[in-house]
């Protein structure tokens, strides 16, 4: 299973297709723990939703941090829009498992947080306000601009966190298990919302998840990560039309294929 993917990765590393994010031969080691993952090569194309699927502790969150430029890999390289990445790119944004809103700021200020920082691209005040307003409207929180995080439900807070990422007009959205702390009904709503807004924002997404159904419902492509140290084991392109709930046979077939891969690879 590993071999074809590794070859494909080599081809992709030298490929010509325009990608938002390209990573080649990444490995990462943590002092005391050892190698977290190795030999990871992947690409995320424009407007593509890629799910990085793996069990807890397989190193997928660490991989996301390396890809986002928050950690430096031991070997390998990451490039963002064709440029080598040394620190977080202004056209990328992060969403975490917890909303992590700043409790002392109103929702609108949370969504606009950091847009005025020194290393962010210059933009006029009105342009920034427009971006904030559009992001808040897109996640369905219009009218709640003056609310503080303590006054929002868990689902609303995660919508606000998504809006905060959208306000940066990201070319690529990094999402680290963004819905796993939500109840099942809210999670389903948020999954639909995510797909909707990233399509409207023309953003690509790298979604880290341990939820097979989430990966199938949301992603255009699924990368399965596992093993110790972690590596990419298999890849699926998901071409089931949306909404995917309307195609239970195809979803079930893909689900079984992923489960089978998990068993055979004994990840």
């Amino acid at each position: 299973m590993n071999r074809p993917l590794a070859e494909a990765a080599v081809i992709r590393c030298a490929g010509q297709t325009p990608a938002v994010l390209e990573a080649c031969g990444l490995s990462y080691a943590h002092a005391g723990i050892g190698t977290i993952f190795e030999g990871v090569s992947l690409a995320v194309r424009r407007r593509e939703i890629v799910a990085l699927l793996g069990s807890s502790g397989c190193g997928k969150s660490t991989l996301l941090r390396v890809l986002a430029g928050l950690e430096q890999p031991a070997t390998g390289s990451v490039s963002f829009l064709g440029e080598p990445l040394a620190s977080p790119h202004p056209r990328s944004a992060l969403v975490f498992q917890q909303p992590s809103l700043l409790p002392w700021l109103k929702l609108a200020d949370n969504v606009g947080f950091g847009l005025d920082f020194a290393h962010q691209p210059r933009a006029g005040k009105e342009a920034l306000q427009g971006r904030v307003a559009a992001a808040i409207e897109a996640v369905g929180l219009k009218g709640r601009e003056a609310a503080y995080p303590a006054q929002l439900s868990g689902g609303m807070a995660q919508r606000a966190a998504l809006a905060r990422a959208l306000a940066r007009e990201p070319e690529l959205l990094f999402a680290d298990e963004p819905f796993s702390a939500l109840d099942a009904i809210t999670r389903a709503e948020m999954q639909d919302l995510l797909v909707d807004v990233v399509h409207r924002w023309h953003s690509a997404v790298l979604l880290v998840t341990h939820d097979i159904d989430e990966a199938i419902l949301v992603a255009d492509r699924i990368l399965l990560m596992g093993g110790r140290p972690g590596h990419l084991a298999q890849e699926w392109t998901v071409d089931i039309p949306r909404p995917r709930e309307d195609h239970p046979e195809a979803v079930t077939a893909l689900r079984l294929s992923i489960l089978g891969a998990l068993r055979h690879a004994s990840l």
């Binding site: 977080p88 990328s92 992060l94 992590s100 002392w104 950091g114 920082f117 020194a118 962010q120 503080y148």
Partner: protein, 250 residues
């Protein structure tokens, strides 16, 4: 029904205490005639008298000023030390036993030494109040730094925030709620330490007023002062609480 009565319950508690107070003073008055002067009636009379005069207000103003000075000194020492304790495991390891040791010493036990070293006047009172108040502020600040949401710092890093932006826009506002919790605890301790601290070497303030009333055998005034101390302490705590709530918007 319960919804209408619920706001009245605190009043009922206060009323019950007043009744017990009257009953206790009456019972004690049968044994010690002087007890009659600190029963509710004479106390309220004395309180109304004192509120109309200027004396009590001057004592109150001076005491509140000492609270403010003691609190500011405690904040100036406690916040930087707390940030350092929260950020540096080495500093924390070095100082934790010392701080826990010093924290458990009643500030009042320093009083004779404070008066000897700092002289008679406001200085030893400031020292005692600041010494009492610095621990809750320091420990809460340290806890605040330790409990900063790591994702906030990650968010700041993902925005390529400068050190200054991270400190001013994330860390300091992020620990303010904890600092305010420390302030609330500190005000409670300061207010308790204040009265005995003002009983030595100063010639004004609520603690002085208590001793003065005793010396004048003005027990109604003394009881009135006790009511004032309780009421002001309640207001201070309430103010600190609402500051905390306002910051968190909870």
């Amino acid at each position: 029904m319960a919804g209408i009565l619920l706001p009245l319950l605190p009043l009922a508690g206060l009323l019950a205490a007043a009744l017990l107070w009257a009953a206790g003073a009456g019972w004690l008055g049968a044994v010690t005639p002087v007890a009659a002067s600190f029963s509710p009636g004479p106390t309220v009379d004395a309180l109304l008298q004192l509120l109309q005069g200027r004396d009590l207000w001057e004592h109150v103003a001076l005491s509140l000023q000492r609270v403010a000075v003691g609190l500011v000194i405690a904040l100036l020492l406690g916040i930087p030390l707390g940030v350092l304790t929260g950020l540096s495991p080495l500093f924390s390891r070095t100082t934790t036993p010392l701080f826990q040791f010093a924290r458990m010493i009643s500030p009042l036990s320093w009083m004779p030494i404070a008066v000897m070293v700092l002289g008679v006047g406001d200085a030893p009172v400031y020292f005692l109040l600041a010494f009492a108040a610095v621990w809750p502020i320091l420990l809460n600040t340290a806890a605040g730094v330790a409990q900063l949401d790591p994702n906030w710092l990650l968010l700041a890093r993902s925005l390529s925030a400068t050190r200054r932006e991270t400190l001013l826009r994330v860390i300091l506002p992020g620990i303010t709620a904890h600092i305010l919790t420390g302030v609330r605890l500190a005000i409670g301790i300061i207010w308790i330490v204040l009265v005995p601290a003002e009983m030595l070497g100063v010639s004004a303030g609520l603690g002085y007023f208590i001793l003065d009333a005793r010396d004048r055998l003005a027990y109604s005034d003394l009881m009135a002062a006790i009511l004032v101390i309780g009421f002001l302490g309640y207001l201070l705590d309430h103010a600190a609480r609402s500051l905390h709530r306002r910051w968190l918007h909870a």
